[in-house]
C-alpha cells in the first residue's frame, strides 16, 4: 500500500524534524513489579529521560535472567525416553530404560551437584545485582549532590 508507506515516511520526518518526544512515562518507569527476589529495587527513583528508561529496561532484563536462572537451576537426572523408530522403537526404549536404571546411581549425584552449583551461581549473580543497584543509587545520590 503505497499511500500508507508514503504517509508513514512523512510522519517519521515530521516527528524527527519537530523533535517530538513522548512525554508519557514508559511502563517500566512507573510500575515497579516486585517479585521477592528483586526486593532491592523497591523505592528506586527513576529518571524520566531516555537513558534512565533504557538503563531500567536493561536492568529489568538482568533481573529477569537471574530470576529465570533461579527457577530453572534444578537439573533433572530423569529424562523421558523415546524412540522414533516404528518397528525397533519399543525394544530400543526398553533397553534405554534398563541402562537408565543401571546408571542411576552414578548420574543422579552428578545432576544434584550441578543443580546445587546452578543455584549458588544464580544466588551469586543476584547478590552482585543487589550490589550494582546499591552502587548505582550511590552514584545517583552523589551526582545530585554535585548539582
Amino acid at each position: 500500500m503505497s499511500g500508507a508507506t508514503a504517509f508513514l515516511e512523512a510522519l517519521e520526518q515530521e516527528i524527527t524534524a519537530g523533535g517530538i518526544l513522548c512525554d508519557i512515562p514508559h511502563f517500566c518507569q512507573v510500575v515497579h513489579p516486585n517479585p521477592p527476589k528483586r526486593a532491592a529495587t523497591v523505592g528506586k527513583t527513576l529518571t524520566a529521560d531516555a537513558s534512565g528508561a533504557r538503563e531500567q529496561r536493561e536492568f529489568s532484563s538482568l533481573s529477569e535472567e537471574i530470576a529465570y536462572l533461579k527457577a530453572t537451576s534444578f537439573v533433572s537426572a530423569y529424562r523421558p525416553i523415546y524412540s522414533c523408530r516404528r518397528f525397533w522403537g519399543p525394544i530400543i526404549v526398553f533397553c534405554k530404560r534398563v541402562i537408565r536404571k543401571l546408571t542411576k546411581f552414578y548420574v543422579e549425584p552428578i545432576a544434584l551437584d550441578q543443580s546445587d552449583r546452578n543455584a549458588h551461581m544464580a544466588n551469586a549473580l543476584a547478590l552482585m545485582q543487589q550490589r550494582i543497584e546499591a552502587l548505582t543509587a550511590e552514584v545517583e545520590r552523589l551526582k545530585n549532590l554535585k548539582t
Partner: protein
Amino acid sequence: MQIIQVLVTLQKGDAIGNNALLLADMLRKEGYQVRTHAYHIGRDLAFGTDEIYPIEGMVTPGKGDLVLYHMCEETPLNELLRVWSCKKIAIYHNVTPPKFFAWLDIDVAAKQQRSLREIASLRNTFDRVVADSSFNKEDLVQMGYVSKRIDVLPILIDFPSYQQAPDSRILRQLQDGYTNVLFVGRIAPNKKQEDVIRAFAWYKKHLNPNARLILIGSAFSEEYLGYLRQYIEKIDVKDVIFPGHISFPEILGYYKSASVFLSMSEHEGFCVPLVEAMLFDVPIVAFDSTAISSTLGGSGILLKRKDPVLAAKAIEQVMRDQTLRAEMIEGQRQRLRDFDVTALGNRFLKIVEEVC
C-alpha cells in the same frame, strides 16, 4: 480410518479451540470419522456431542488412524505422541517465549521454556506439520524441524458466526462521536497492552481528547492486570476500558463501534483479532513484530518502530484522511479473501490425503 484430534484445551472463543471445532466439522463433511479429545473441555461443549471427549480413557490410536495434534505447550500428550504408531499431523500455534513472563511469574516462564524444549524434541515425530504462519514455520525450523515437511496454513476462522447481531447496548454506548481505539487479545505481557495505553495516552493528550481505548481480552493474571491499572492511574489517562470476560455479541458490538485497531504486541503466532478487524472494516495500525506482517499481508499500517508518538500520529491520520482510510479498508478486504475457509479447508484436506 479414524481421525483423532487432540489438544490440551478445547473451548469456544479461543482461537485454537475454534480452529479445532471448524476442522472437525470440515473433515466430517468430507466423510471422515472424527473424534476430538482434550484435557480441558469448555463448559459449553457437552461431553459426547460432536464427538468431543476427555483425553483420560482415550483408546490408543491404531496404525491406520490419523492424529491431528494442536501443538502449543508442554503436556503429557507429547510423550504419548512419540509412542503412538499411527500417522500424525501437528498444527503448531507457537509458544510465547519465556522472557515475556520471567519478570511476572517465574513458574510460567519455566513452563514456557519446558514447552519449547518438548516441542523441539518432537521434531522427528510427525508425518507433516502445519504452521499458522511463516513466522511459526521459521520457529520450527530453528528447532530442527525439516522445512519441506512444514506447510504454512492460516488458522481457520468461522466467518459466518460473525454475522450474528451485535449487542445493541454496546453500540449505543460507544457510537457517541468518540474515536474508539480497540485492541483485542489476551491481557498478557507479550501483547504489550501497556504500550497501547501509552500511545493512546499521547494521542488523547495531544491530538484528540475525545478518544476512548478499549482493551478486550481475559487477563493472563490478575497481577498483570493490576499493574496495567496502576500504570493507567499513574499516567492519569482517562477513558480506558477493560470489558473483561464478555459475550460474543458484545465483542461484535465493540468491533462494529471501533474507529481503529491498534496493536503493539511483541509476539504473535498468527493474531486472529487482526483478521476480525479486517472483517469489520476497522483500519489496523500495528507494530511490526513476529507474525503480524505476514497476517496483514501488506494491508493495514505497519509501524517499523515502536514509538507511541508515531502510533498516535498514524491513528490521527487514519481518522482525518478519508482517502487513506478507504484505501486501507479496501486493502484489508482484499487480504481477507486469502483467509477464505473453503480454500484453506481444501488445502488442509489435501495435506490429510497426502499423509494418509
